[in-house]
């Protein structure tokens, strides 16, 4: 779509370069770990952002898909000896299937009902993980093997995460700036308009839910490899709420906003030890603050700043029709 500033390829490439080099150059293992964590969260959030930010579907349950991704690698590779890379792909596919299932209720249920359903589904994943202890290790959890070869080192894993994140960000950006992006916004903002332009809301929703499930599954797999051990406790509702908050504070209809949100909210507990204890409390407080005062999030603040310092001239008050141009456009639509 027509973004004045955020959509430029140059800005994106530059940001990417900085992102990649900084933690590697620093040599700080802790920084590398945190950067990798931000990356894995971002892989999930960028898919979830399409669902929540662009399509307006309130899913707080994607943490369940995240868990499925992580456990797929733990079980597939750790227990059954599949190669971790194959397990990563399977995690994505499984995530996609479950994402599809998650999307089905959205076709019929109104907003609050759907949000509650996604909450329930994520809790069900938790229950299954604890109950099926023969497969999942129950409450004690499972170790997750890392990837092989050059990806076995922290730097290697970091580069993998960055690579996946960059690819999925590009894909996501493509979807939002082409016709599918407009169709998604119509579903979010005006179902009447969406119907009037012929958008098959059900099909679009299911497609996007499947895609977001794929990214969540892949993100979970990367997360599992990064943490090298997973338990059901890790995938509590609070984490699902965290993902959701990153998007809301980022602002709807934006990719940069939620990215900044993810970076800031992930870094906060790492920066301050006391924050880490009250982390979830402060996340909820931030959400409340944003919803009450800046409901359109960081991206709206950025937009306001841009318009403040680079204001556009007021449009002229007279409208000048160009009937011949209109007639020619009506005669030849071009497709």
């Amino acid at each position: 779509m027509t973004h004045p500033l955020f959509g430029r390829k140059g800005a994106g490439a530059l940001a990417l370069l900085v992102a990649v080099m900084l933690p590697l150059l620093s040599g700080d293992r802790y920084l590398l770990h945190v950067a990798s964590l931000i990356g894995t969260y971002w892989v999930l959030i960028i898919g979830l952002n399409l669902i929540v930010g662009y399509m307006g579907q309130l899913s707080v349950g994607h943490v369940g898909l995240f868990a499925i991704g992580a456990y797929t690698v733990a079980i597939g590779s750790g227990v059954h000896g599949l190669s971790p890379e194959l397990a990563l792909v399977i995690a994505g596919v499984l995530g996609a299937l479950c994402g599809f299932v998650l999307g089905v209720p959205s076709l019929r249920l109104p907003g609050f009902y759907f949000a509650m359903t996604t909450l329930g589904l994520s809790l069900i994943v938790g229950e299954v993980l604890v109950a099926q202890r023969d497969v999942t290790g129950g409450g004690a959890g499972l170790p997750v093997p890392g990837f092989s070869g050059p990806l076995a080192t922290p730097s290697g894993l970091y580069l993998l995460v960055v690579g996946v994140a960059a690819l999925i960000s590009l894909v996501s950006w493509n979807i939002t700036r082409l016709m599918w992006g407009r169709a998604m916004v119509s579903i979010r903002d005006s179902s009447v308009a969406a119907a009037a332009i012929g958008v098959p809301a059900g099909r679009v929703k299911l497609t996007l839910f499947t895609f977001s499930g794929f990214t969540a599954g892949v993100a979970g797999a990367l997360f599992g490899a990064l943490q090298s051990y997973v338990t059901p406790e890790t995938f509590h509702f609070d984490l699902g709420l965290f993902f959701f908050i990153c998007i809301v504070i980022g602002g709807k209809g934006s990719i940069l906003g939620p990215f900044l949100g993810t970076v800031v909210l992930t870094l906060l507990p790492e920066v301050s030890a006391s924050f880490a204890v009250v982390g979830h409390f402060l996340y909820a407080l931030v959400l409340l603050f944003v919803v009450l005062l800046v409901p359109d999030g960081i991206s709206s603040v950025l937009r306001w700043l841009i318009e403040r310092f680079w204001p556009r001239p007021n449009p002229p008050t007279h409208r000048q029709l160009d009937l011949p141009l209109l007639a020619s456009a009506l005669r030849s639509p071009g497709s």
Partner: protein
Amino acid sequence: MKNPSISADFLPPLTVAAARSQKLAAVGITKKFGGLTALDNVSLDLARSTIHGLIGPNGSGKTSLLNMLSGYYVMDTGDVFCGGQNLSRVSVEDRVKHRIARTFQTPRLLGDLTSLDNVMSGAWSRTRSGFLASAFALPSARKEEREIRQHSEKLLKGLGLGELMNRRANTLEHGDQRFLEIGRALAMSPDYLLLDEPAGGLTDGEIAHLEEVIKVVRDAGIGVLLVEHHTDFVFRTCDEVTVLDLGKVIVHGKPAEVQNHEEVIRVYLGGTNASLAKN
């Protein structure tokens, strides 16, 4: 649901004619909301290259009929035909495939998107790019986007909104929003354009512009249904006019015939000899 391919002997004449013609037609529509009869055996033909006005006092059923044609309401009895096919049970989204576009009494725009994006969104039904083609920005998807963008830019400039192309739709003035919504409807390359009280809240200058735009749309081969309150605007602009009152059609014909028709005058002005042309 009547099947138009059944032998004509079994169908009333009006239905056969409607089924065979290239028109958007409502045939014998009746719709009750609880105890209220919104439409009572109403029929209306909208032909291509025509501007067909639909007027009537408040509550006469004008918008209900428009909603019936576009698929937002389902009738109790009667049918809607388009190009020979029975659309009565077809959903709103699927009617778009029959190239039926509409605007709304209050513009339903995507406020956070720019004017250009809003118009481009109207071309959704013409896109062929699937999800994966878009996801990987394949050349076919990018070409389609370019073509739609060029077409939409022409529509915007044609409608006088060229300077507002990159402004968010919710920052536009009311009049501009109305024209923007028409632009979105035209981006579909429709065969039929249903306008629901498009002159609402427009200045005289804007109404004059609207008249010119509607005529250009008609000349391009599109059938325009103009549901309106501004009766003088309707009589000036339309090729034919249908008048509704309390859910029934009371007269249909050319503007000159209709505006001097006794029944119409009685319904609007309460029984004087005054002609509606003085409105």
